[in-house]
Amino acid sequence: METVTNQLVSIEKPEIVAPPDWQPVIIGILCNWCSYAGSDLTGTSRLQYPPNIRIIRVPCSSRVDTWFLIKSLQTTADGVLVSGCHPGDCHYISGNYFARRRFLVTKKLLNFVGFHENRIQFSWVSAAEGPKFAKVVSKVTEDIKKLGPLHLYKKENFEK
């Protein structure tokens, strides 16, 4: 006998079922000079984007240490979005080039140990790209809604 359910399960751990009113929490780490200004512009130009994102402002995308991402995923987040200036536009000249390398390796490694690759996403959003920011956040939220809740190595489990 097979019961067809519409319940959303965590993609990494199918035994974990999302509660019916589940909404993902996404940590957005934005660079001060472009993406944060971009998100500001989104707000001032009255563009809607999902409220699931919690924004943290950092001076530059290369300020994002890899363990910021790991810590986010281990505490509240179901997904992380890191956003910085377009290549060539970095306020500190080359910060985002360094960041780009770290992001790729972090994303691949976390994917390797069993996180879905869409849990960590990156974008380049400039200060003038308000609509793009709204689009990026909508897409990330949509992606993570499909993946279900993240229940891997959460700190608050206090296991063992």
Partner: protein, 283 residues
């Protein structure tokens, strides 16, 4: 591969010419053919030195040791050891003029069971890249063979990988032996050490092990030279090389065939960039 005689000759000469204060090499444990690193301070102890295919431990670890700091050191390095030495030099942890490096063109070392170590089978740089003197043939080049177990692992489904690594993190006992035995982990305050940890205070839980191993392997990404000191030290025998080799592979494929510490003055992959770095994963 037995350079015992040559190394003893070199060490004797260096002590006689008063070029070094301490010579770091290997000696036998005294009962079997396993070897212990030896820090030789006087020429009378030089006959203890040996070097053969059982000389496994990466000696550049001892450059962060109390006994070698601010001293003139003679050091034996194999291919992988010399790469980590190269990184230590680039990162200003040791001074080149204080070192006398005996490089070895390594033919691969063996583990306790006598099998050739897996990292030696796929070694790309077997001969030492930094040396004052090289023993053996220098022109040894090998291919970059992608680790078979990495390939198997990457081919698995997401859920299977998660299950496998959950077991890895569960079996970690948070002793931090991996970090202490790594030649490239020289931070006085480490972000995964119990007392100075950033997110976890050292309780041994699966999540703290995940945090520690992930952060640690990402700090070593693009710097790890695959000497497997960490795996030798791990009391739980965890397959720590999976993280490092995976990172090495990602970095090699994406960042212009970067290999840590092969060229002099070459920094870790995260300390430089190129315009050609992949951008397609970024929205």
């Amino acid at each position: 591969m037995d350079y015992t005689k040559q190394i003893q000759e070199i060490a004797t000469r260096l002590f006689a010419e008063d070029k070094i204060d301490v010579f770091v090499g290997y000696r036998l444990t005294g009962f079997d053919d396993n070897q212990v690193p030896a820090l030789i301070r006087e020429s009378k102890d030089v006959p203890l030195l040996v070097f053969n295919q059982k000389s496994v431990f990466n000696l550049s670890n001892y450059l962060k040791n109390d006994h070698t700091r601010n001293k003139r050191v003679g050091l034996v390095v194999k291919g992988c050891d010399s790469r980590s030495l190269n990184l230590l030099l680039t990162e200003s942890q040791v001074k080149r003029e204080k070192l006398y490096v005996v490089g070895i063109a390594c033919e691969g070392v063996v583990d306790d069971a006598g099998q050739k170590m897996q990292n030696c089978l796929e070694c790309m740089v077997p001969a030492a890249v930094v040396y004052d003197e090289l023993l053996g043939e220098a022109n040894m080049e090998r291919r970059f063979i992608i680790n078979a177990d990495i390939q198997d692992m990457a081919a698995k489904e997401l859920v299977q990988r998660r299950e496998y690594f959950e077991e890895v993190f569960e079996n970690c006992i948070r002793c931090n032996a991996c970090r202490h035995s790594c030649p490239l982990c020289y931070c006085a305050k480490c972000c995964i050490d119990q007392e100075t940890a950033t997110l976890y205070n050292g309780a041994n839980t699966t999540s703290s092990a995940f945090h520690a191993l992930m952060t640690w392997s990402l700090h070593l990404a693009g710097r790890c030279v695959d000497c497997r000191n960490c795996e030798k030290a791990c009391p739980s025998h965890l397959p720590l090389h999976l993280f490092h080799k995976w990172n090495e592979r990602v970095i090699y494929e994406n960042f212009q065939e970067h290999l840590a510490g092969v060229h002099e003055g070459d920094r870790g992959a995260f300390y430089k960039y190129s315009m050609q770095d992949p951008d397609d994963f970024i929205m």
